[in-house]
């Protein structure tokens, strides 16, 4: 299972490295979202720096939609999904591989977005440990849920419009918990408040990854 996961993740990441869709399209889009927030909210009154954790995670959420869509559209052409199905790889491995590739891309994106959030919204970065844990657990949950729903919508003619409706209500708790945890991390006095939220993020990640491992076979086997 793990070897298969590494193979699939390697394949997805190699495609990204060569096509550069993540770096040339998804990352600039996410930074653009951060800039757009400045237009929507008054940048002079400190609204941006107060809301920075939430805005950061909303940008990550939008970017993760694109990343998931991309992860499944690379297999849409030339019968890629059939190839994957016939490859004899463990479905659980395929799921973990695809989710893993999304995790790595999102983590890289979060570092980039974090730098831009700190610069553009004038937010001091503190609590590195809590912050790292938050990003890690939130991203695992996002990628797990995203990969399950990405597969649910894959191959359908309406996948681009269907995926956001399916995925966003489900990852709303991730947005909420990650925002609270990040707020806690950034404010030294409230770091303790971040832990329950990180716990919720871990529960979410475990539920989605387990469900994906168990259910991906059923989703792949169809004709």
């Amino acid at each position: 299972m793990w070897r298969d996961a590494a193979l699939v993740a390697g394949k997805d990441l190699r495609i990204e490295a060569r096509s550069r869709v993540a770096t040339n399209q998804i990352a600039p889009f996410a930074v653009l979202v951060l800039v757009l927030f400045a237009f929507a909210l008054d940048p002079d009154r400190g609204v941006l720096s107060r809301a920075a954790p939430g805005l950061f995670w909303v940008a990550v959420l939008f970017a993760s939609l694109l990343a998931v869509q991309r992860s499944f559209s690379v297999e849409a052409a030339d019968g890629g999904r059939d190839g994957l199905r016939l490859s004899g790889l463990d479905p659980a491995g395929i799921f973990l591989g695809k989710a893993g590739a999304v995790v790595l891309q999102l983590l890289a994106l979060e570092v980039l977005l974090g730098v831009f959030t700190a610069l553009l919204y004038d937010t001091p970065v503190r609590g590195a440990v809590v912050l790292t844990l938050t990003c890690l657990t939130a991203t695992l949950g996002l990628a797990g849920a995203g990969t399950v729903y990405g597969m649910l919508a894959a191959g359908l003619r309406v996948r681009e419009t269907l995926l956001p409706l399916l995925l966003l209500p489900v990852v709303a708790p991730v947005l909420l918990a990650a925002t609270r945890a990040t707020e806690g991390a950034l404010d030294i006095t409230t770091t303790a408040e971040a832990w329950p939220w990180i716990r919720l993020l871990s529960v979410f990640a475990v539920i989605y990854l387990t469900f994906g491992v168990l259910a991906f076979g059923a989703l792949l086997e169809e004709a």
Binding site: V148, L152, A153, G155, L156, R157, V158, L162, L165, L166, L168, P169, V170, A172, P173, L176, A177, R180, E193, P196, W197, L200, V203, F204, I207, F211, A215, A218, L219, E222, A223
Partner: protein, 243 residues
């Protein structure tokens, strides 16, 4: 082949429908006659319908999850129809929960919408199952759609507790839940009686609606099959005439 008519209207269904109608009417009449309470005035009468509607939405999503699991195990399309029928009715009841709660909130809290834990959670639930219904509506091979819908139905029910705890935490960290405004001990017997009657009535109405929607799904399936057969027969007839 297509002459097998599935689930015709039977007398138990009619009986259920009649009982639901009568008990709902009784609930309305008795509910509107309930004495106003000191805190909420006449708006306390919402207790006769609002909790009942909310209960039915939970029931609906529970049935959807069970039917989805049954479909994945048995691969019998009837389970898929039941899951879809129940989710459709569930979405209606969830929307009604929000609407009745909102009307009550306007009078009691002074706002149409408060970011209360339960309201937020119910709104998330509505969107979750709207997504599920959207997935059921996509054009795809029926087997594919049924399997994906079943997976989505199971997944949705897993998300429900997470969403619930997330918003509960979110709000309880900031303000107390506003839903304890009506201490049960102050309710008099007539309220309890009407509320119980309402629960029975609403559950029967829910069951009747699900039966109807289920029959409709079956018919739609049959009509699709019949259309396909007719189209094939037409092509065959053309082939005979052509030479």
């Amino acid at each position: 082949m297509s002459t097998t008519r599935a689930t015709p209207v039977t007398w138990p269904t009619r009986l259920l429908g009649g009982a639901a109608l009568i008990s709902l009417a009784t609930t309305v009449v008795l509910g509107l006659g309930l004495p106003p309470t000191t805190e909420q005035g006449v708006y306390a009468r919402f207790l006769a319908i609002h909790p009942q509607v909310a209960w039915c939405s939970y029931l609906a999503f529970g049935v959807t999850a069970l039917a989805s699991a049954a479909y994945l195990v048995r691969k019998d399309v009837r389970w898929d129809h039941l899951a879809g029928a129940s989710a459709e009715v569930g979405v209606v009841f969830t929307a009604l929960t929000l609407v009745t709660g909102s009307i009550w909130g306007r009078r009691t809290w002074g706002v149409w919408w408060a970011w209360d834990a339960r309201m937020t959670f119910t709104a998330l639930l509505l969107f979750l199952y709207l997504g599920y219904l959207a997935l059921r509506r996509v054009a795809a091979d029926p087997g594919t759609r049924a399997r994906r819908s079943a997976v989505a139905g199971l997944l949705a029910v897993l998300v429900v507790p997470v969403d619930h705890y997330a918003v509960e935490w979110w709000r309880t960290l900031h303000q107390k839940s506003s839903f304890n405004l009506t201490p049960k001990e102050q309710l008099d017997g007539s309220y309890i009686a009407v509320m119980l009657l309402g629960f029975g009535a609403m559950t029967m109405a829910f069951a009747w609606l699900v039966v109807q929607r289920y029959r409709l799904e079956r018919r739609r399936d049959e009509a699709g099959d019949a259309e396909l057969e007719a189209a094939i027969a037409e092509r065959r007839a053309e082939a005979v005439v052509a030479p």
